[in-house]
């Protein structure tokens, strides 16, 4: 019986091996046509036009632009909510509110895309005249709302795990709840909070349907949130939903884009795993 169970466990290893092998072998053929240097420095991405360019920078900038917008909403909001729920709110309130907030994280992302495209963009266009129909801003804002509960839930767990004695100590010195939260509890729970931020960041980088639906599909090296952009993930979706010949260079670009995304999220996940193992605060 142990054998059978072990084989099942090894499937998880095979999955990883499969992902790495598929991504790297297909991109290897890609990089025989396009030099890695061009891939990393060319500022144009146009695999389907007659004058082909394969510079990943526009896709990367699109990804980072949307991610930055979403994080600028989700990190402050998520942490404030976490502190409020853990240090201020009555227990009952926390008990009911936390699962309600987590509903936000369980909604399928294509639904958020619909919301960004049909509600948020028209609303923002009233105030921002040059806002394109597909734009990084709406996609980023809505993605930010989606990842608030990821940060608030994990951070709140970290704050809640700080032992009572530290709180009592700070109160005993005459600190207010605010001073206790920011000077004692927050530093004590910092590793857990940083892990939650990194995981949310990785999630935002890999998020696909919101950006595909609402941010557009135009590789665009820009930092202007009002413009249409394409992220790595949106490119993969759009490219693979068209009819692309297998073994063509267009087909391989999907994997070259995929490998970039994978390396990116792999580094983020590894860092968060390392922090979690290394800096776990222990109070006895």
């Amino acid at each position: 019986m142990k054998r059978v169970l072990m084989i099942c466990a090894i499937i998880t290893v095979l999955t990883t091996v499969g992902i790495v092998w598929v991504l790297f072998s297909e991109s290897y053929t890609f990089f025989q046509h396009v030099s890695i240097w061009d891939f990393l420095t060319d500022t144009e991405w146009s695999p389907l036009s007659t004058n082909k360019h394969f510079g990943i920078l526009p896709l990367l900038s699109g990804t980072l632009l949307v991610t930055a917008i979403s994080m600028s909403i989700a990190v402050p909001m998520g942490i404030i909510i976490a502190i409020y729920l853990s240090e201020y709110a009555p227990k009952k309130f926390r008990y009911y509110i936390k699962p309600l907030l987590e509903i936000l994280a369980s909604i399928p992302t294509v639904v958020y895309g619909f919301f960004a495209l049909t509600v948020v963009t028209p609303f923002l266009q009233n105030y921002i005249p040059n806002l394109a129909g597909f734009n990084a801003l709406s996609a980023g804002l809505v993605m930010g709302i989606m990842i608030i509960p990821m940060i608030s839930s994990l951070s709140e767990d970290a704050l809640y795990a700080v032992p009572k004695s530290l709180r009592e100590g700070a109160y005993g010195m005459g600190s207010t709840r605010l001073q206790t939260s920011f000077n004692v509890i927050l530093p004590a729970a910092s590793s857990g909070i940083i892990v939650s931020i990194i995981l949310a960041f990785a999630r935002a980088v890999g998020e696909t349907m919101i950006v595909t639906v609402a941010a557009g599909n135009m590789a665009n090296l820009t930092a202007d949130p009002r413009e249409t952009v394409a992220t790595i993930t949106a490119f993969i979706v759009n490219m693979s939903s068209g009819d692309v010949q297998q073994d063509s260079i267009e087909y391989q670009t999907i994997f070259a884009a995929g490998v970039t995304l994978f390396v990116f999220t792999f580094i983020l996940n590894s860092v968060s795993f390392y922090i979690k193992k290394r800096f776990q605060e222990k109070y006895d």
Partner: protein
């Protein structure tokens, strides 16, 4: 005003800021659900559930989409549940504290963080091309099964971890071997937690769109799947294709599709939360 007064005011101010942020999140949820209900509710009737998609928005329905969703969920569950539970048992009961276990652990943590679209690329190359399943339900189900496997494994492990060691020791004391102990004592005691995890994993699979686009779910389909090798579409895929239509009338169809999709997701999540609470209350070691 003394500095103590100032600190008290700041403290109170932060309390209101925190409350405002929390309610902002809930407020967005309400607006969001409200808007979709208002847009889509008029579309929902028997015809919507029993019609095929059409180029005319008034006649377009989700019959192939929801049957496709049921098919793919069934197949995904058949593949992922036994493997996930078995792997979870191995991780928690057999592979404790070895080099191998440590490696498996890191690997699992990383897999859980891989973006879903990468699983789509894996499925495209392995299931669609190499194993030649084509753009069938089977390809989609295998891909989704790999995607939710880490979720099932992690929740199975947590459920097993919650069973106290005294139960195992008592079983060993009666002369049972490891597998007998797991099968007769540990698994029944942790069933609630494992089932909760499985439901949450399945509800995650329902909403996945990106990997299925990559492994070739169809956007327009005129028949209902009748075998694992059929072409298919799923609800989120149908919604995605309606969102892309220029005709505004299709936005209503998309919203109506979203209502059905959210209903399924919320019901499953509700069942999971209910089971978790019941199970936590009932089991007191």
């Amino acid at each position: 005003m003394t500095s103590a007064d100032k600190n008290r005011i700041k403290d109170k101010a932060f309390e209101y800021v925190g409350m405002a942020c929390t309610f902002f999140g809930l407020f967005m949820l309400v607006i969001f659900l409200g808007d979709i209900l208002m847009t889509g509710i008029e579309k929902i009737d028997m015809d919507f559930l029993s019609n095929f998609p059409s180029s005319r928005a008034r006649k377009a329905g989700i019959y192939p989409a929801w049957t496709g969703t049921l098919w793919i969920l069934g197949l995904t569950a058949i593949i992922a549940i036994p493997i996930g539970i078995a792997a979870g048992i191995y991780f928690e009961e057999y592979a404790k504290k070895s080099k191998m276990a440590n490696f498996l652990e890191i690997n699992l943590a990383n897999l859980a963080g891989v973006p879903s679209i990468i699983y789509g690329l894996l499925g495209l190359q392995i299931f669609v091309r190499t194993l030649n399943f084509g753009t069938s339900l089977l390809s989609g189900a295998c891909t989704l099964a790999l995607l939710i496997l880490p979720v099932i494994i992690v929740s199975t492990r947590e459920a097993l971890k919650a069973v106290p060691d005294s139960i195992r020791q008592a079983s060993y004391g009666m002369g049972a071997n490891t597998w007998q102990t797991i099968w007769h004592q540990v698994l029944p005691a942790s069933a609630g937690g494992i089932i909760t995890g499985i439901i949450l994993a399945i509800s995650r699979a329902i909403g996945e769109t990106a990997p299925l686009i990559v492994v070739g779910a169809a956007t327009f389909i005129t028949n209902v799947p009748d075998s694992p090798m059929s072409d298919y579409t799923v609800l989120p895929m149908q919604i995605y294709s309606w969102i892309g239509m220029p005709d505004k009338e299709f936005a209503k169809s998309a919203a109506a599709g979203i209502i059905v999709l959210l209903l399924i997701t919320f019901v499953l999540n509700g069942i999971a939360v209910f089971l978790r609470n019941r199970w936590q209350k009932k089991v007191k070691w």
